[in-house]
Amino acid sequence: MNSTTVRSLLVRGMLAGLVAGLLALVVAYLMGEPRVDAAIAFEDSHSHEHEMEIVSRSLQSTAGLATGVLIFGVSLGGIAALAFCFALGRVGRFTPRATAVLISGAALLTVYVVPFLKYPANPPSIGDPETIGKRTTLYFLMIALSVLLAVAAVILGKRLAPRLTTWYASVVAGVAYLVAIGLAYAFLPAINEVPADFSATLLWQFRLAAVAIQLTLWTAFALTFGYLAERVLTPRPAKSEAAEANSESNTAAWTAASAG
């Protein structure tokens, strides 16, 4: 029974990841692609030796982009669903839906926003091919650090909760996480390979698009997976009884909704 529950949650996580990936793809295509094209135009105007195109731009910006974003969505959806299985009922007394929102928010913050603030996304023509190894190592290191420190902070918060109450334990754990991340920011080497004459506006727009893609992905995932997980985990009696089984406030909301 429990293993089947995990399996159905995992499947739904990947499905929700696919849905979220599709929405993120729309944002990536509409907001991101014009900036990628503009950055490539800048690159071409600066280097006169033309590289041979292995995959055409029209394929890269459609099928190629879709492959990347959808695999990204499904993979992270699966991982997030597994993290959800673990967190449910362990992090706190949250409903499945609330847990899904918490996991998604934590994922957006730790896997993307925190690493991004140190090593932000860059459009084509930024980045020296010579340093790709160093940049990749540092980026993945920053993701790993951010996730592990967040897990440590949650454990710390759980340990402190009996003494400090949940609220202050969460505040202390949050501050501890920020201090640890601040130290990582301070000690890891900075990378800045933006050409001097690269448009600041274009760079800002590109990075804004990159953040919008992740925001879309995780918001859509939280809502879709939260809905699906709630359905898997809440036993559903017949419709009329379902209303009674729910808490008063829910019943009132449902009645109001169906009446309206």
């Binding site: 995990v6 990536a28 190629g64 492959t67 991982i79 007394r93 996304a121 084509p124 790709i132």
Partner: protein, 73 residues
Amino acid sequence: MAQSAAPAAASPALPITPLPLKAILPWAVFFGMLALVLLYFVGAEQGATSLVAGSDVHEWVHDGRHLLGFPCH
């Protein structure tokens, strides 16, 4: 959606029992690995490290790699 600070008295209508670790672990190990391998191919293959010769994978996911925030080139 209530505060987790709410003591044991909170909504008895919806008991949240944690899923046992034994049930999660096999799925987590197998699918977690699979997902990480997929993410590696989207995010890093034929960049810093290369398992497949050439640059077809890199070129194919090129735009996604840039826009998803991975280091590229």
